[in-house]
Symmetry: C2
């Protein structure tokens, strides 16, 4: 059981499983030595309504990175970054990522550009340009729907805008592997999906999409700029925190760009996304089942009015929905896992795509695209 | 796999395995949900000679504890505390431990009074009285030889002083379970040992001793104030960091005071110490074997002169001796473990002990004892 060393830079909470608490244990179970930098030290995630603790300052992060460099401890072959509060701290991480990439060009960097969700920004807006600058350092990025819009400045409203956004990420920002998980199945998206990817019903499914240049360069053409895979995922009722952090960690842990893929119609990325997705979904399902056994006060549905009258109502609900990572750790180790539903190729994703002059240059001028 | 929830309060390092990095993953593997409070956030342990990062202030710790209380997240059934720098931060932890104990008297609290080793103090001296105040809150303590001396003010120089120190910890400080691991086998200690506990040779062994009031009250008398067990442990060459932190975590994880013990001559404490000891020793042996395969520059023996001429020489040695917790995680899960050498009862430990008047009171006056 000898594997790589991963440097993880993200939030820490004392109680519950988000940020590093959702990412580090799974990676350790998978056999990775994980170097753990805590960008914040909070009592719990923000969904509880209140939390204590503090953020690491940019100076504190730099002091850690400098000592690690002096002590020859910057040895990761993989880098994972998540929630980093504020542009100054993020710039410190950017400088470190650049240094690591310079000294080891094979570094696999999964950048999760944690900025917001569903139209709501939960970082300071000045982190957006820093994340854009960092994208060329990344091997894989895992933005959600809203974060794709923030990074590309392209509103995703039809298949053409989705194509333009992927082109922007792959060509302007030179990201070889892009994964957008949890896309709401709007009518235009559902209609664009190949029949074999479409779910039986719309409302209770999300789409997970991967778009890859890796290991597939020979198949790529002007008309097919990337290999796209997708899968619909059954939505589990209720909001769970830390799911994106867990998914990103599992994705990096399962990504092996130099291993042969099991079939011709898969890419190293689609294989890793499939594994991360089935484990994440199994853990969510397991958490959901565990939470059904909790006392009723821990299972109250979301209700802003009742919650504001009694803040502990919300707190208890949050507690009942913490990921059951520990009880479900056999899932992480891949025991008895259903591997029968890998991501499927979305063969005609680029069918309606018309390469234009700007796309012919390796680095597209974003302003010309949007 | 449903187990208890443990609140762990100790140091965090980015690289390597000491403090929380040595304790949390093993407990998670054993099925415990662990709430993790980081008392420092450093790049690496102090043995590397330099480290970056910062300590949590008492105010930051209090802010975390207060939010957890408000959010009803102070739910541990077990508490584990390790390195806490400075008396003010330690007092904040003391207040928390008192609060937890008040609200849940069955709380199992393993207090590792991390203060120093081999005659050298590595915390501020003003933590000593705070630790003494905290002892009555503890279920188990795991001081080393030197820390026993600091806590009891009794110099350990013969079997009588060892007896007096244990009496002081059990009676004055009301600690039901005391474990002193890694005691150097000085001639008086070796001579006092029953034959079946004595090792074949002195120099390469340490003694691990446990002294328990738990689950054994009926057997205790004035002449036999506690049940003592011991075992000699073969010393593995070289200095490894984090071993005490790992041992304390495994000990707490294996301690089940209400479960029947496998044999009449064991206590819940001796059973837990046996399990923790065999796992710790196996992991050390495994780490040692792994380190033998490192390049020679990572295996240079300690040499202060050469180290000071080339600080990286020391750094590389430290790196090569980080506990191989991840690669050896099957040991933590107890697979293929040799459980054939449990701690043995030291039946005549109290033979030479003469109860005096002060020992008859439940709380002994320390000054009268020493």
């Amino acid at each position: 059981m000898q594997a790589d060393r991963i440097l993880s830079i993200q939030s820490h909470v004392v109680f519950g499983y988000v940020g590093g608490k959702a990412a580090v244990f799974p990676l350790q179970c998978m056999g990775y030595d994980v170097d753990v930098v805590n960008t914040v030290n909070f009592s719990n995630h923000s969904g509880y309504g209140r939390s204590g603790g503090s953020k690491a300052t940019a100076a504190e992060l730099k002091s850690i990175f400098e000592s690690m460099e002096q002590n020859e401890l910057l040895l990761p072959s993989r880098l994972l970054t998540g929630y980093i509060p504020g542009a100054e701290a993020l710039s410190a991480v950017q400088a470190l990522a650049q240094k690591l990439k310079n000294s080891k060009p094979s570094l696999l960097y999964l950048l999760d550009p944690v900025m917001g969700d569903a139209g709501r920004l939960y970082v300071a807006p000045d982190v957006i340009p820093v994340y854009r600058e960092m994208l060329p350092l990344a091997s894989i990025i895992t933005p959600n729907w809203f974060e794709v819009e923030l990074l590309t400045d392209i509103k995703l409203r039809d298949i053409q805008s989705l194509q333009r956004a992927l082109i922007c990420l792959h060509k302007r920002y030179r990201v070889p592997d892009v994964v957008i998980s949890s896309i709401p199945l709007t009518p235009w998206l559902r209609d664009a999906l190949p029949k074999r990817i479409q779910p039986p019903s719309d409302n209770d499914h999300l789409l997970c999409l991967s778009s890859s240049l890796s290991g597939t360069e020979s198949n790529l053409t002007q008309a097919t700029p990337s290999i796209v895979h997708a899968q619909c995922v059954h939505l589990i009722p209720g909001y769970f925190s830390g799911v994106g952090d867990l998914f990103a960690a599992l994705l990096l842990g399962h990504f092996h760009p130099n291993r042969p893929t099991p079939s011709e119609d898969s890419t190293p990325l689609s294989v890793a996304v499939s594994a991360a997705l089935v484990k994440t979904h199994s853990l969510l399902q397991f958490t959901h089942e565990q939470s059904l056994q909790l006392p009723s006060e821990e299972r109250q549905p979301s209700d802003d009015e009742l919650d504001s009258a009694n803040p502990l109502r919300k707190t208890r609900r949050m507690r009942g929905r913490e990921l059951a990572l520990i009880q479900g750790q056999d899932i992480i180790r891949g025991k008895d896992l259903d591997n029968t539903s890998p991501l499927k190729p979305w063969d005609d994703f680029w069918k309606s795509y018309i390469p234009n002059s700007v796309d012919k240059s390796p680095y597209v001028d974003l302003d010309a695209l949007i």
